[in-house]
Point group: C2
Chain length 323, copies 2
C-alpha cells in the first residue's frame, strides 16, 4: 500500500509508559526517539502532559506523564536528525492545566492530542481550541467509541466537525473490540457526520487485530495512523510499528532502525514488563469491555492464564436481575 | 458474522504436532478432541497419514504422523459426544502409501486432505481421486500460493476444477505473507479458475494476521475455515480457534470448552514448546519467505530475538550477481 498522504504517528513512549508509570530511563527514550527519527516516521509522542500536584508527582508517575518542555528538549538535543518528526503530547480531559501551556513557538512541542470520552466532548473541544490558539496542531481522540451509544457519538462527531480549531479527529478502539467490518462502519459514521475533518485511527491488539484493523483504516482512506514499536502498550498493546512500515510502501520510511531498537532495547524490556496479545485480553476485547479486569487478572500470578474462569466470570448473568 | 454454510475445521493436533514431532500424550489429544466435540466445531484433524518405514518410525515421529485407525478410534472412544466432528487426516504428496488406505466405511476417518505444492498438483489430484474412490471426503490444499508463479497457480486451479473427486480446494498462506487485500485477490483467482469448487482457507500468523485474514476469507465467502486452539502451530502458528468462534455468531458453536482446554492443557504446554507471533516470523512473512530460516533462528537461544540482524540477513543483496 502506497498513498503519499499517509502519516505514521509513533506513540511508543506514551502508550508504553502506561505499563510502567513512565519509568523509562533517559537512554531508553533517547534510543526510541533516535529510531523513530531515522525511520522517517512523521510524529513522535513523548507522553501525557498532565498537571503535577502533591499527590501526582514526577517521581512517582515519571517525567513522561508531565512532558515538561525541558525534558523533551533534552531528548531531542541528544539526536542529530535531518528530518525530525513532529513532536506530540497528550492531554487527558480533567487532568491538565492549560494555563501552563506556552505558545508553540516557545516549545519543542508541535501537536497536542486531546483524549476524551463522548460525554466530555465539550471539554475536549475547549482544550483543543485553546491549544490551537497557542499555535499547536490539534486532535480530538474520542476514546472507547465501541462503547458509546451511537447517537451520542454522532452528536459528538457533528460538534467536532463544526470546530475549525481541531485538525484531526481520531477513531480509537480503546477496548480492542472492533472487527474490520466495524472499523469500516464507524469510519463511515465519522465521514458522514464529520466530513470536514482529517481522520486518524488508534488500534488496540486485544484480539490480535491491531495491525489488521489499522490496515482496514488505511483501506478506508484514513491517513494518520498510530503505532508503537514492538506493539508496546498497556494490556494487549497496539499496532506494531514495524509491521505497519512493512505494509506501507512509501519510500520515506525505513524499518531497519525500528528492528534495531527492538533487538537492543525492547527484547530486554520484555523481561521486566509484559504487553501483547493473550486470551485474557482476547476475551475482554471480544466482549467490548474496559480492559481493567483483564489487567487485574494478568497481575495475579496464580490466575493470570485462567482464560476459562475469566470467560465465565465475564459472561455470567448477574444474580441481581436488571432486565 | 453468521452464515449457516460456515464450517470450522480444527487442525490443532496436526499443526501443533509439527512443533514437537507429534509427541503429545494420549491424555492431551483426548482433552483436545473432547473440547472440539463439545464446542460444536465441524471437523477434527488428527494428524498426517504418512508411510511408516525403518527410518521413519512411530517412536521417533509420533503416532499422529501416521494416524493409524486404531489410534484414532482409541481417542474417539474416550469421549461421549452427541454430534462428533468429522474426522480428517492429511496426506503429503510423495510421503504416503495409498495402498494401505482402507475404505471409509471400515475406518473412523471421514476426510483425507491432500497437501501439495503447485508443481505436484497432478500427484495431489491423483491421491484425492483415489481417496474419493474409497469413499472419503477430499480436499486439495495448495501450499505456498504466495510463492507460486501466478500462471502456474491458475493452471493448477483449472485442473482441480475439472476433477469432480475433489470436494474442497484450499487457499493456504503457508508463509504467512498475505495481507487482507491479497486474500481477496487470490480468492478472486480461485473463484475465476475453479468456479465449481467449494473453497477453504488456512492461515498462518507470521504477521499477526492469521485471524484477520480468516475473517477476510469469510467476508469473501469462504465457508471452510481452519483454526487451532490457542493458535498452536509451527512457527508463528495459526488462526486462533477461540477468536474465530467468538467472531462467528452461529449458535451451534460454544467457545467455552476451548477456553477450558486452553487453561488446563495449553498454558502448561507453552512452558515446553513455543509458538506464536514474534518479529522474526513477522519479517519472514513480510518477505514471503519459507519460515525455515526464522525457525532455525528461534532455535538458537543466543540469537533468537535478533530481529535487526535477521532483517539485514534476509534482505541483503547477494555477493553473487544474479540479475
Amino acid at each position: 500500500m502506497f498513498r503519499k498522504e499517509i502519516k505514521v504517528f509513533d506513540c511508543t513512549i506514551r502508550d508504553g509508559g502506561l505499563i510502567n508509570n513512565y519509568q523509562f530511563t533517559d537512554d531508553f527514550v533517547k534510543a526510541v526517539y533516535r529510531a523513530v527519527c531515522e525511520s522517517g516516521v512523521d510524529f513522535f509522542e513523548f507522553g501525557k502532559k498532565l498537571a503535577e500536584s502533591d499527590e501526582y508527582t514526577r517521581q512517582k508517575y515519571g517525567p513522561w506523564n508531565f512532558c515538561d518542555d525541558d525534558d523533551i528538549q533534552r531528548i531531542i538535543d541528544s539526536v542529530e536528525c535531518e528530518h525530525r518528526p513532529l513532536i506530540a503530547v497528550m492531554y487527558d480531559v480533567g487532568r491538565v492545566d492549560i494555563t501552563k501551556l506556552v505558545p508553540r513557538d516557545e516549545s519543542p512541542v508541535d501537536m497536542v492530542r486531546t483524549a476524551c470520552y463522548v460525554p466530555d466532548i465539550d471539554k475536549g473541544i475547549d482544550l483543543a481550541r485553546r491549544c490551537k490558539d497557542l499555535g499547536y496542531l490539534t486532535t480530538i481522540n474520542i476514546m472507547a467509541a465501541s462503547a458509546a451509544i451511537e447517537n451520542d457519538l454522532i452528536e459528538a462527531l457533528e460538534q467536532v466537525n463544526a470546530i475549525k480549531e481541531v485538525d484531526y479527529l481520531y477513531l480509537v478502539d480503546s477496548f480492542g473490540a472492533f472487527y474490520s467490518e466495524q472499523i469500516t462502519h464507524y469510519l463511515n459514521l465519522y465521514r458522514k457526520y464529520a466530513p470536514d475533518k482529517e481522520l486518524g485511527f488508534h488500534a488496540h491488539n486485544n484480539q490480535q487485530l491491531g495491525f489488521a484493523n489499522t490496515q482496514q483504516a488505511i483501506i478506508d482512506d484514513v491517513n494518520l495512523l498510530d503505532a508503537t514499536i514492538n506493539g508496546i502498550g498497556r494490556g494487549a498493546g497496539n499496532c506494531n510499528l514495524e509491521l505497519l512500515l512493512n505494509f506501507l510502501k512509501n519510500p520515506k520510511f525505513d524499518v531497519r532502525p525500528i528492528y534495531k531498537v527492538i533487538q537492543e532495547e525492547f527484547i530486554p524490556l520484555r523481561k521486566k514488563i509484559e504487553w501483547g496479545f493473550n486470551d485474557i485480553y482476547g476475551i475482554s476485547g471480544h466482549l467490548n469491555q474496559h480492559p481493567r479486569n483483564a489487567m487485574k487478572l494478568r497481575a495475579d500470578k496464580r490466575k493470570k492464564d485462567n482464560a476459562y474462569d475469566f470467560f465465565l466470570e465475564s459472561t455470567r448473568l448477574d444474580d441481581v436481575d436488571i432486565a
